[in-house]
């Protein structure tokens, strides 16, 4: 594009009608230009679509659960490590619990069915145990037995029995839980942690890096030595110290932290603490070189305030590397979370995250490859998508890259 000579541009514009020319000369709003640019980058758009889908999955995990009617914590230890696309029968104890609940909630319907079952001699036990006895049979057999009663009271029971047969799109895990719904909930945790951490650490890095780069001197020295120090500080002891802190005992955190979400909070804090430094150094490096550029000098001569120079003149110039850093950061945070589960500092069970699902599966990579492949694939897909998104955004936002 830069090869295009001025002459060619001249010629093209000359051929335009006055109306088109007016259209062209009308200043386009910034966002429109960015959008047009962005839409040109096919893979970035694909990435954005994939990320949007994952975001929607994360937000609507609860809805997906109620539609599919699968509980992410429902275990079925008789059917562990099932292959994808299989059906399974739920365990006996769950059936009994469910039947018991049905009987207490619908005593009349249950009573009618029990009587019918015994009188039609489908089961040969006392009335009180009739439905339980049916529960011990194969689900299909039990359903056809119930249907043969042709009782309208049996309808509720039939649908209950139908729920005893579960379909597993992606198979089951080490406790016979449905992998699909766990991945859906894992999306919520992993994406949430990844995005939050990447943005937070990029902002911290931007702030510290730009202040250090702009002011130089003592400020730079102090800030950069702190950055160096944190960068070189060994992670593991800090992680262990944090793991030992009982956050629910800290008064001002009490309101939002409970035993069940404490590990997620710790995860976010740990990840933020350890991931802003490289952004800071990157930003500082760029600002150092921008500081000496002519336009900064010009702005300063014109009497612009420091904050104006930093925000108006320097930030736009560091946005490109920042975006790369943020988008890389999301993937890195997701991977870091997986590595933390490896050290026993990850998200606590039974809450699923891609990281801990992948980590749990790695030792059984021979036996149940699907268990490792699926979360691995999701991590891979998300990271790649974020990278392409960043790539596209970088091209689109950067004023110098705008193709006219």
């Amino acid at each position: 594009m830069s090869e295009m000579t001025m002459n060619e541009v001249e010629i093209e514009t000359n051929q335009l009608s006055s109306k088109d020319r007016a259209e062209l000369e009308k200043a386009q709003p910034m966002w429109k230009m960015v959008l047009t640019q962005f839409m040109d980058h096919k893979l970035a758009v694909t990435g954005a679509v994939i990320i949007t889908i994952f975001m929607l999955i994360a937000i609507f995990a609860g809805t997906i659960q109620s539609i599919t009617d699968i509980d992410p914590d429902a275990q079925n230890v008789g059917n562990r490590y099932l292959a994808p696309l299989t059906t399974a029968q739920v365990g006996q104890d769950v059936r009994e619990t469910e039947i018991e609940r049905f009987i207490t909630e619908n005593p009349e319907a249950a009573d009618a069915v029990q009587k019918a079952l015994v009188t039609k001699e489908i089961v040969a036990v006392a009335e009180a145990d009739a439905i339980y006895e049916l529960g011990a049979k194969e689900t299909t057999e039990a359903i056809s037995a119930l249907q043969s009663l042709s009782l309208k009271e049996a309808a509720g029971l039939i649908s209950l029995f139908k729920s005893f047969e579960t379909f597993h799109l992606f198979g089951t895990d080490e406790l016979g839980r449905d992998v699909f719904i766990r991945l859906v909930y894992g999306t919520r945790v992993s994406m949430g942690v990844g995005v939050l951490v990447a943005i937070a650490s990029a902002l911290i890095g931007l702030l510290i890096g730009s202040i250090a780069g702009f002011y130089g001197g003592l400020v730079d020295t102090v800030l950069m030595r702190v950055t160096d120090a944190l960068l070189s500080l060994p992670h593991i002891p800090v992680l262990i110290v944090i793991a030992a802190i009982d956050m629910s005992k800290i008064p001002w955190l009490k309101a939002i932290i409970s035993t069940s979400n404490e590990s997620i909070f710790k995860m976010i804090i740990i990840l933020c603490l350890f991931s802003w430094m490289s952004v800071a150094r990157l930003v500082r490096g760029s600002i150092l070189s921008i500081r000496e550029r002519e336009f900064v000098l010009a702005a300063r001569t014109l009497g612009a305030k420091d904050s104006t120079i930093i925000v108006r003149h320097m930030f736009p110039n560091v946005i490109a590397p920042m975006l790369v850093a943020i988008t890389l950061g999301v993937g890195e945070s997701i991977l870091f979370e997986a590595a933390l589960s490896f050290l026993g500092l990850g998200i606590m069970p039974p809450t699923p995250s891609w990281g801990n699902m992948l980590n749990n599966a790695q030792e059984l990579i021979y036996q149940a490859p699907f268990l490792a492949i699926l979360p691995g694939l999701l991590i891979f897909l998300t990271t790649v998508s974020f990278n392409y998104l960043g790539d596209g955004l970088q091209d689109a936002i950067d004023p110098k890259a705008i193709r006219r």
Partner: protein
Amino acid sequence: MLKKFAKGLCLVAGLGLSIQAVAAPTNAELKIGISQEFETMNPLIMSMSASAYMYRMVGRSLVVLTPEGKWVTQLAKEIPSLEKGTAKIIEEGGKKKIVANWEIIESAKWGDGKPVICQDFITSHTIATSPTVSVGEKEQWTQVEKIDIDPKNPKKCTFKYEKAKWDFFTLAQFFPVPTHLEKPVFDKYSKQKEGYEKNSNYVRNPTNPGLYNGPYVISDVKLGSHVTFAPNPNFYGKQPNIKKVIVKLIPNTGTMEANLRSGTIDMISTLGLDLDQALAFDKKAKAEKLAFDTHFVPSVTYEHIDLRLDNPILKDVNVRKALLYSINREDLVKALFENKQQVALHNVSPKDPWFTADPKIITVYRYSKREAGKLLDAAGWTMGKDGYRYKDGKKLSVVFQTTAGNKTRELVQVYLQNQWKQAGIEVLIKNEPARVFFGDTMSKRKFDGLALFAWVSSPENSPRSTVYSKAIPNNSNGWSGQNYHGWTNATVDKNLEALDLEFNAKKRADLVHEILKLYTAEVPVLPLYYRSDISVTPKNLKNYKMAGHQFYETNNIEDWNLN
């Protein structure tokens, strides 16, 4: 680019197919995979399991416990006993003590040909009890007060024991060290803090054969990588069949199987696979007709849940019983372990002569949700609308902790959480790295609900440290003792004190049974299962017998045969 990559893959595939499957190992060499780190093998100081596993190949003690649970002699000619008159109880300064005669077998020699003599035991006793040497568990050395050598025979001596305890002869870890090599080092460095351990020949010159008296000597050692063993021509017993043994560290259990299949190792030791991996490997090895056997042997390791007895909810014995009734341990063992591990009844394992399953003695808790419901109702916890139980508006909710990163435990934990949920008990999981869990939460008694972990013991081991009321860790006893649950029972205390001094085996068992009766009636602990030891061996390995306790199967390595 992608095409090139694909082409490359095809090329590699072509090459790969022309290579033959891995051959079965022979007596020329056996490579054993181990997943735990090992340390310098100084028998006085080492504390890691992997080191103990390997040391049994190169060093022998006076007596040892067989896989069948019997005490037999090794370096000793016979086991002293009161009945035979080779040991007797004496009184000294108002205290009862024991004096026992030990004699070392004639043919026992160090790897350099020097005989093993009583002086070697005196040397190790002197070193281990020195204040500058960091021996962990000193009691196993200090229980012997004095060793006197027979002036006529350097292989004969009498041990004087500090207390008159029935198990005085169980000196399986009372290892000798060669006086002619180690004594000069100790004399030179004994004043310096940790001076001996830094300069011992076991550190400076570990391939010196004179340091070992077992069937093998160490011919090469690289910490963090491997140890190579060569037969010891001066071994007192029969010469080993296998000419070279290599123990190789593979820190990642996920790649253990890959190493086995690729022939980098020939067998996986007891300290190798997880149960889940072993179960899966066993199935696949059978399906693919691989030349490996997977062994599952019940061990004395006891997985259980300690209950914090001063927790207001768990204080009530009915709640504790309900917790136990509402978990289906038979199903757990069947579903998760495929019956390769056994349901635990109490803290004594079936491998132990003290074990009992007699319902007249102990209370047996079979899974019964109804029973659990009754007990909870009686305790005032009534079922609420949300499926959890409440009392005075308070939810029946307890915190459940274990070591994070231990896959099997986390699996069991989530399984149990689900079962308690069905009984209306909310269980919140809060796991910590082993480091924090054992080093702080348990040892300083900071847990306040349920804590899942294991005790490793040996048969006929007094449960004193875990149920004695004086073993409740607190500030004044320096946080020592492992009675984390905080159980106090006068009868138990009395029996524990009597147990050590009881020389009649039948009466000892009765004392233990009474403890077990109280243990199962008051439920300070929820017993889960006894763990199994697992190993994988080549099909042609004969005479391999797993021990299931801390005196590993490598103790019989001279019998192993690959022909």
